[in-house]
C-alpha cells in the first residue's frame, strides 16, 4: 500500500498563499488603476512641479478629509506599483478628438556662416513624397516622438487671434515638457553640424491645402541660459517673440 504524500512544509504553504494573493492583486490592480483615474485626487508636490502629464482627474471627490486622504493613499500606491512594474494604465487613446489640420514639426537652424537651413520631418507630405502606404512599425517610434511634440500645440489654430480667451498657453506647455523639447532641439543641432540657433517650427496643413507655420520653441546651443532659466525658450504667439522660461527648481 503506497504511503500518503508528506504534508507540505510551512514554507511551501506560505509561498503558495503568497502566489495566490499576488494573483488576486494582479487581477484587481488593472480595475483599480483605471477606476481611480476617474476619482478626483489632490496633486502632490511631485505632480505640480512641473505639472504631471497624466490622465488622473485632479481635485476632491468629498469634503471629508479622512476619506479623501485614505483614497489618495491607496491611489498613489497603485500608481507606484504601475510605475515600478511598468504596468501603467491610462487608456485615453485618440482623445480629445483630432483637429482638422495635420500638424508637422520641422527644425530651422542658423549656422555659423550666417545661413539658415531647414530640416523637415520624414512624415512631411510637403517636403517628401510619401509612399501610398507607409510600412508599419518601421518609423513608428520616431513618429511617436514627433507626435509628442506637435500634439502639445495641435489644437492651437494659428489662423485665429492669439489673444482670444481660452487659447492654449503654449509657453507654459513648452515649460512643462522642457526635457522633450531640449532633447529634440539638441539632437537636431548635433546632426546638422554647428548651429548658433535651432528652432522648432510647426507646420499646420489645413484640409483645403493652406499651410501656416508657427514657431514653437528654440535653443541656442552655445549660449548659457540666464540664471534660473531653462536652456529652451518658447514662442509666445501674443508677444510674437521667443520668451525665456523659468527652471522648475528656480525659487
Amino acid at each position: 500500500m503506497p504511503l500518503p504524500p508528506p504534508p507540505p512544509s510551512p514554507l511551501r504553504t506560505a509561498a503558495e498563499w503568497l502566489v495566490g494573493l499576488f494573483a488576486v492583486w494582479q487581477l484587481v490592480f488593472p480595475v483599480l488603476a483605471n477606476l481611480l483615474e476617474f476619482v478626483p485626487l489632490r496633486p502632490t508636490a511631485g505632480d505640480l512641479d512641473p505639472p504631471l502629464e497624466s490622465t488622473q482627474r485632479w481635485g476632491r471627490f468629498t469634503a471629508n478629509d479622512t476619506v479623501q486622504t485614505a483614497v489618495e493613499a491607496v491611489a498613489f500606491r497603485v500608481v507606484w506599483y504601475g510605475q515600478l512594474t511598468g504596468q501603467e494604465h491610462g487608456w485615453d487613446m485618440f482623445t480629445p478628438g483630432f483637429p482638422p489640420d495635420t500638424v508637422i514639426p520641422f527644425a530651422e537652424l542658423d549656422t555659423a556662416d550666417g545661413s539658415t537651413v531647414r530640416a523637415y520631418s520624414r512624415f512631411d507630405p510637403l517636403a517628401f513624397r510619401q509612399p501610398w502606404l507607409r510600412p508599419p512599425l518601421l518609423h513608428d517610434r520616431e513618429f511617436n516622438y514627433e507626435a509628442n511634440l506637435f500634439m502639445i500645440a495641435w489644437h492651437f489654430d494659428p489662423t485665429q487671434p492669439a489673444d482670444r480667451p481660452g487659447r492654449p498657453d503654449l509657453p507654459a506647455r513648452v515649460r512643462a515638457n522642457a526635457d522633450l523639447f531640449t532633447r529634440w532641439l539638441t539632437w537636431q543641432s548635433r546632426r546638422h553640424g554647428d548651429s548658433t540657433e535651432v528652432r522648432l517650427i510647426l507646420r499646420y496643413l489645413s484640409p483645403t491645402g493652406e499651410v501656416t507655420e508657427l514657431p514653437f520653441a528654440r535653443l541656442r546651443p552655445n549660449q548659457v541660459p540666464a540664471m534660473g532659466m531653462l536652456a529652451v525658450e518658447a514662442f509666445d504667439p501674443k508677444l510674437k517673440r521667443f520668451v525665456p522660461l523659468p527652471r522648475w527648481d528656480a525659487p
Partner: protein, 296 residues
Amino acid sequence: MISPRFPWPFSRWKWLTEPVPAERLAAVRIATAVALLLDLCVGGLPYFNLLFTADGLAGRDAYPLRFREGTLYWSLLRWLPDAWGPHALMALWLVAAVAMLFGYRVFLSALVCWACAVSFQSINPSVCNGGDQLRNALLFTVMCIGLGAPVGRGDRAFSSPRPTGAIAEAWPLRVLFVQMCCMYFFSALYKLRWAEWRDGSAMFAVNHNRTWSMCPDLTAALPGWSHPVATWLTLAWELSFPLLACLRRTRPFVLGLGVFFHVVTLFTLEVGSFATYSLVYYIPFVPWERWRKSVE
C-alpha cells in the same frame, strides 16, 4: 514551481482556479516573444542610435523629470554608461527574447525582457505608446507563467470531458483577460467624454490626418458615411467588450471584430506595436490544444 492558494471567495471561482490546457500559456509566451522580436528588429534596431542613445533622443540624463522625487520609475540604463550601456542591454534583450521564444528558462528570460523593456521605456518615454504598456504587462505575465509548471494531466483535473494533454494554472491568462477588458472599456469611457466621439466625427479627422494615417490617400477617400460608422462602431465595441467577451455566444463575434480592428489599424494608422501586442491578447482564446491533437 508553486501553485497558488487563493483566498475566499476567489478560491471558489472556477474561472480562476480550474486549470487550462498548457498549450494556451505556451502560445501566449511564443506570441509575446514574436511580437517583441518584431518590435525590436523592425521598430527599434534600424534607428537604435536615434531612439535609445545619448547621441540621439535618449541618454540616461535626458529626462531627469521622469525620475523626480515622488515617482518610482527606474531604468538599468541610469546605472550603465551612455557609451556602451544601451548597446549591451539591447543585446541582452534580444538574447532573452529568443530564449523566451524557445521556452528556455521562461521565468528568467521573461524577467530579463521585462527589465530591459522597462529600462528602455524609462530612458526615452516619448518614443513609446500604449503598445509599450501592453508589452510590459505581457512580459510581466509571461514571467508569472514561468513561475508555474504543468499541474498535471487534463483527464485527472476535470470531471467533464476535457483535453487530456498537459494542463496549467489559469490565473496568468485570467489576468490578461482582465487587462484586455479594462483597456477597451476605459478607453471607451475616455472617448465618451469628448463631443467628437459622441457625434461621430472623430474618425473623419483621424482618416484625413496626413501623418497619422499611413495611407491618407485611401483613408481620406472613404465614403462619408464610413467615418461616423467607424467612430460609433469602435465606441460600441470597446464599451461592450467586457460583457460580450464573457458571453459564450457573442465571444467569437467580439473577438473577431477585435482582431479585424487591430490588423486594419496596423496597416492604416501610425499605432505601431500597439496593434501587434494587442493581437497577442487574443491568442489564449484559440484552442491550440485541439490543433496539436489533430496534428498528433
